[in-house]
């Protein structure tokens, strides 16, 4: 369980709090997508979960954030990292090794995972991300999507109970983005891992997330199931959140009384719904 209680944070060099009065509960095993306009405070929320604030970026921290019972202010960054696995936005900076296998080994060695467990952990992580064939490749020779999968694999090898990812598909094409989310969702389902993803692609998030959190100006505007959140397409558009056009269209038809079905998230759904309406 991840729990934000009246959490506000102002970076030391900032003039105003970046996030304010955040109260949110994320149950175990939940797949949460956080989105919002640039500068809305999305990344700060992930930093609060993995302890980067206040441990690496100091500032004024109000309220509390607990992860699996650990208060992220009182617990050390190392203790938090035993529970929370993080994939940063800048993948190239995250890589500490020259070869894929060594990158996976890095965290396992740091956490002193017993040597007889390590081969199985490496195999499982590479397999879960579908990159077993990249094991001996140099990091430099990988594409952006492959690097992303290596970064995720290096974290899931540590078997964290919570996985935090900051814009994991920022540099990926749509097909690679879907592939990364597919693998993530499957891994989380199989291991009961709580996943918190910051992502700009709301359509993608909606397909995988159990809960969608919309942040605006440092405050949570919506935190609900994707269907419930996307029902507010007009408000989301006003907040700068890029709602799928199919959703906007069907919501507009709904407002005219022409459609009364569930929220539509994609073109295929809209086509099926329109066929039903026109029949």
């Amino acid at each position: 369980m991840i729990e934000f209680k009246e959490f506000s944070f102002r970076y030391r060099e900032g003039e105003a709090p970046v996030v304010r009065d955040i109260t949110l509960s994320i149950p175990d095993g939940c797949f949460v997508g956080i989105t919002g306009a640039a500068g809305s405070g999305k990344s700060t929320l992930t930093y609060a979960i993995n302890g980067i604030i206040p441990h690496c970026y100091p500032g004024d921290f109000y309220g509390s954030v607990t992860v699996e019972g650990l208060d992220t202010v009182e617990a050390s960054l190392t203790d938090i990292s035993r529970v929370v696995g993080s994939v940063c936005q800048d993948i190239d900076s995250q890589m500490v090794s020259t070869v894929v296998e060594d990158e996976i080994l890095y965290g396992l060695e740091n956490f002193a995972v017993p040597k007889d467990e390590i081969p199985a952990r490496v195999d499982e992580a590479l397999g879960a991300m579908g990159i077993a064939d990249l094991r001996d490749r140099t990091i430099d020779s990988l594409s952006g999507g492959q690097k992303q999968k290596v970064a995720v694999a290096s974290v899931i090898a540590l078997q964290p109970r919570v996985l935090v990812l900051d814009e994991p598909t920022a540099e990926l094409d749509p097909a690679s983005s879907v592939a990364v989310f597919d693998l993530l969702a499957r891994y989380a389902r199989e291991h009961g891992t709580t996943v918190v993803v910051v992502e700009q692609k709301i359509a993608l998030l909606s397909d995988y997330a159990d809960m969608l959190v919309i942040v605006d100006g440092g405050r949570i505007r919506f935190a609900d199931t994707p269907d419930a959140v996307l029902a507010h397409s007009d408000e989301l558009l006003a907040l700068g959140v890029n709602v799928p056009r199919a959703t906007t269209l069907m919501n507009a038809l709904g407002a005219q009384g022409l459609y009364g079905g569930p929220t539509v998230r994609n073109v295929a759904g809209a086509a099926a719904a329109l066929k039903e309406v026109l029949a």
């Binding site: 690496c56 960054l77 938090i80 990292s81 993080s86 500490v96 070869v99 002193a112 140099t138 430099d140």
Partner: protein, 256 residues
């Protein structure tokens, strides 16, 4: 061609050598180069280093390195030429002369720097960064933080070079012409050091945070997964390098 100081996979003798032994041998070789001023001996060492590079298929990378070292050592060579009036005078100068001894000294500096640099650079081309770190920690008892800092610094050199190339490309697209004299190029590059510095600090900070959230502070000497046993080839290479160093010291002691 591999990027500067980036690992090149392979199965040559150098690739298979123990990382710590590689490092020690390269350092011994470099010390030997600086211990003697015997040009013939230094030329033998340079040829040996080039053969080593060719044996692991790194001829092109080494040629590039030699060019860079040559350019740097040329500056030193010019200074030596102008400030070391030895041997038979060839060119008179207002403050002395350039002699045969000056030429020999300048040539010695160039050969010495090239011979010393090649093995040190080869170590990074033929060894995975993690193996250098882990082996240094396990076998040389270097504290992990220092070993990691050192290898991370090397790791970031090509990253920063790529960043600089990117910044220069962006400036070129906006009409800045980097072609021309070296002085002009340097003058145009100096203002670009600020964005490079900013992005470098950001990247370094991100890397430090990323390492920390993956348990960097928990690392101990025993927690490394791989072992790095020394084979007969490693002992042999060590013996050769010790002999080379001994020969260099002997030549220096004999004044040859």
């Amino acid at each position: 061609m591999a990027k500067f100081l980036e690992y090149v996979p392979g199965n040559s003798f150098l690739h298979r050598m123990n990382p710590s032994v590689k490092l020690i041998c390269a350092v011994l070789f470099a010390i030997a180069c600086f211990a003697t001023s015997n040009l013939a001996f230094l030329l033998v060492l340079l040829v040996g280093a080039l053969v080593l590079a060719a044996s692991c298929g790194l001829g092109r990378e080494t040629a590039g390195l030699c060019r860079a070292v040559f350019a740097f050592s040329l500056i030193l060579a010019v200074v030596i030429l102008l400030t070391t009036p030895h041997g038979v005078p060839l060119v008179p100068l207002p403050w002395g002369f350039i002699g045969t001894g000056s030429l020999l000294a300048a040539l010695t500096v160039i050969v010495r720097l090239m011979a010393a640099a090649i093995p040190l650079f080869l170590v990074f081309y033929v060894t995975k960064m993690n193996d250098i770190t882990n082996s240094a920690v396990k076998q040389l008892h270097v504290p992990y933080k220092y070993a990691f800092t050192f290898t991370s610094t090397v790791h970031f050199i090509p990253v920063f070079m790529n960043d600089m190339a990117g910044i220069m490309e962006a400036q070129t697209a906006r009409g800045v012409e980097f072609d021309g004299s070296l002085v002009k190029k340097v003058r145009l590059m100096i203002p670009l050091c600020v964005p490079l510095l900013v992005s470098s600090v950001r990247k370094t900070n991100s890397a430090a945070i990323a390492a920390e959230v993956r348990g960097f502070n928990l690392r101990t000497r025993e927690s490394g997964y791989k072992d790095y046993p020394l084979g007969a080839g490693d002992w042999g290479a060590l013996a050769v390098c010790v002999l080379v160093l001994a020969a260099a010291i002997a030549l220096a002691a004999l004044g040859l």
